[in-house]
Amino acid sequence: MALDPTGKRIFKVVGTRPPRPDGIDKVTGRALYGADVSAPGMLVGRILRSPHPHATIVAIDTSAALALAGVKAVVTAADFAPQTDPTLRDIQDNCMARGTVLYDGHAVAAVAATTAAIARAALKLIKVTYAPLPHVTDVDAAMRADAPVVQAGRALESVPAGMPDNVTHRCEFGHGDLDAAFGGADLIVARSFTTAATHQGYIEPHACLASMTGDGKGDLWCCTQGQFNVRTICAALLGIEASQLRVTASEIGGGFGGKTNVFIEPVALALARKSGRPVKIVMARDEVFRATGPTVSSSIDVKIGMTKSGRITAAEADLRYSGGAFPCLTIEMGAQAAFAAYDLAAVRTIGWNVLTNRPKEAAYRAPGAPQAIYAVESVIDEACQKLGLDPLEVRLINAAKKGTKSSYGPTFDDIGLLATLNAAKAHPHYRAPLGPHQGRGLSAGFWFNFGGNTCVSLNVNTDGTVGVTEGNPDIGGSRAAISQMAAEELGIPYAQVRTMIADTASLGYNDVTDGSRVTFAVGLATIKAAQDATRKMCARAARIWGIDPEAVEWVDGAAVPAGPNAGKFPPLTLAEIAAVSFQTGGPIAGHHEFNADGAGVSFGVHLCDVEVDPETGATKVLRYTVFQDAGRAVHPAYVEGQMQGGAVQGIGWALNEEYIYGPDGRLQNAGFLDYRVPVASDLPMIEAVILEIPNPGHPYGVRGVGETPIVPPLAAVSNAVSRAIGVRMNRLPMSPPRVLAALGAKG
């Protein structure tokens, strides 16, 4: 079957909306998530956490805890062999503090006991002697020469000599002559912005069940976005061979990037090894906020030069990110993404990472991009207002397209930015009238997407059904999309395909479910595995017919003679070939293993209407439309779901969500009451408009879509609020007190 990314192929299954295979399990409560399993003899594990944002651990006395009846094991950093690789060492030190605690909530010790009540009591019996140290939680404060040092000696070679210890990285991107280009502008706008750290806010806390035998074999059940990554890290931290650890991914109750790491899993394994019994650890909600991976916090300066007619002549940004107490490279993604939507002759971004006494950053959808693009899109909007120009027209004038040299280096191939901008321009939302205290904002947004290491195995069962075994946890409905692509390529009904997710012992390595990679890379591997299987089935048909295998091709779910000279044989369907597979050579399967490249970037444009109450400063989102290029929407309902879900996360980020630290360096809002995510009554319907500019790197044209939707909302909402109240907002979130303060300052 010819692979046709140009869009001319007529799809039968791809593009439809079949029910997802795990749907019944999930609506009946039967599906098993991280905390839903138990094992005989299981112990309950709990973790003791630092109340200090920064302190030396002088001593830990676990004797009283160990003596408590029902306590079977206690572990500290002493139970983990030190790591030489800095990345693994940071992960290990984050899972269990070694010598120093670096943030409020940092794990210090852990116990395993026969009941949860005994485990909690045991934690109280562990005596930790701390010597508190000065702390710093603000990114700009942490960059000053007199700032408390979070960790010394962690700067990469990229940091100029003489910078304070907390600065661990400096990066720079761009091209062109900025001075000359600014000289050519009619208007220059320079603004500074700050964004607070936010959390992915998945409703399922981290949970795992670990068991280990004395000879180094381990079994781990956990909610994760990547069971193979968990295996690699845990095996290293526990000092065992990866092949001896089997990790099974449970159903996952949300991840968004926050479950691509380990936090409790090595601890549970260490407790299981020490106690000789299975150990279950489930994080409490406050632990999730304090001690998993929020986003970076940021402080950003943007300067843009624009002509009277709306052409951006020059663009520059200085971005300061803090990924918490451990070095973090997310700044590189932000600094590259900042101006990615635009065709610029002169552009430069400089990015910094700075250590603070906060938890270790983890990805949240498109890591680093929302903050940077928020700042850039806000300045462009301000320039449009000052020059009296239509913000959408200005985006169209400056949009990157095929052949544009991107701000981060490569030249773009086919991309969907112009299509999404034009779709927004044509949409009735853009022309709908606005009332008093109402404003409309828009933002473009972008994410790179990637492919990655992927293995798929496709087995043809004798009853004519097909089992697809893949290795990526389903966080958005991907099992359905994978089944659709297998059904499409094989030419059989969707209902005959079963897609399941394998544990680490049952399949080759798969990169984590991130980078919006699954529909693209696992889909591509599935298509190739299906083609592998159809080649084998054609060979079986050839033997049955007594003709050359080259003379058989696969059409509409059956082997057929290729051309009139091959012979007159009625088609042999997949089911018919499968039924005699044992007699014709044995079970039939196809497979594919590769490191996928060629993922296409995904552009999006969001339109947002808000109404701001001048008395309370509260913002109501009245109307929200998401336009995004999906390349090819395999299951349109799940593509819409990504667009809507990401948009709402971005709305929360813009209006209410933030990590609040007091002067004592402790997180003040470690729960859903005060870390306020959007609820159903906050929102209107979110209209999702899918565009399809096929990605040349995928046989069906698929582009990843999961991450881009979180990028535009920050500026779309901020631009809407700024226009509604007549004051440019430059700090997120725009919670009611901040909006009132802006209104008050305006007078």
């Binding site: 138990s38 309902a637 859903f672 319907m685």
Partner: protein, 158 residues
């Protein structure tokens, strides 16, 4: 350790269990009765993932002491389907792709069912305010509202 013996009804079945005085009903459902459909998302009544009905009233089971279940009728997600026949709400959620990760889905279904029993023809706004105590981080709520409306329509016609 003092324990309490509780006799109650769960999804129409007589059930007995022993619990500690401070144990929540959520803990008992999940850890003693094997009913893991209700989820602990926060333990403080802010997320709604543990939603059940207690004598017909929608509650967060993390905020109910297990001992309070004595003599009461508990309804959990496991009681929505009858045999292999899904409740119209469950079917509507599948049809409308109103779930992604699915962790909030049991709580939202129990809450939506409680709404439709009181108000069989709610407006979108009424649905949104009723479900304001059920957090969903994946869907943005759009398809959930559509699914509830579709189920309500089918239930009114039945």
């Amino acid at each position: 350790m003092k324990t309490i013996h509780v006799a109650t009804t769960v999804n129409g079945d007589a059930v007995e269990f022993i619990c500690a005085p401070e144990e929540s009903l959520l803990d008992v459902l999940r850890n003693r009765l094997g009913l893991t459909g209700a989820k602990e998302g926060c333990g403080s009544g802010d997320c709604g993932a543990c939603s059940i009905t207690l004598d017909g009233r929608l509650v967060c089971s993390c905020l109910v002491l297990a001992a309070e279940a004595e003599g009461a009728e508990i309804g959990t997600i496991e009681g929505l389907a009858i045999g292999d026949a899904l409740h119209p709400l469950q079917q509507a959620f599948i049809d409308h792709a109103a779930l992604q990760c699915g962790i909030c889905t049991p709580g939202i279904l129990v809450a939506a069912k409680a709404l439709l029993e009181r108000n069989p023809d709610p407006t979108d706004t009424e649905i949104r305010y009723w479900l304001a105590g059920n957090l969903c981080r994946c869907t943005g709520y759009d398809k959930i509202i559509r699914a509830v409306q579709d189920a309500a329509k089918k239930m009114r016609a039945a």
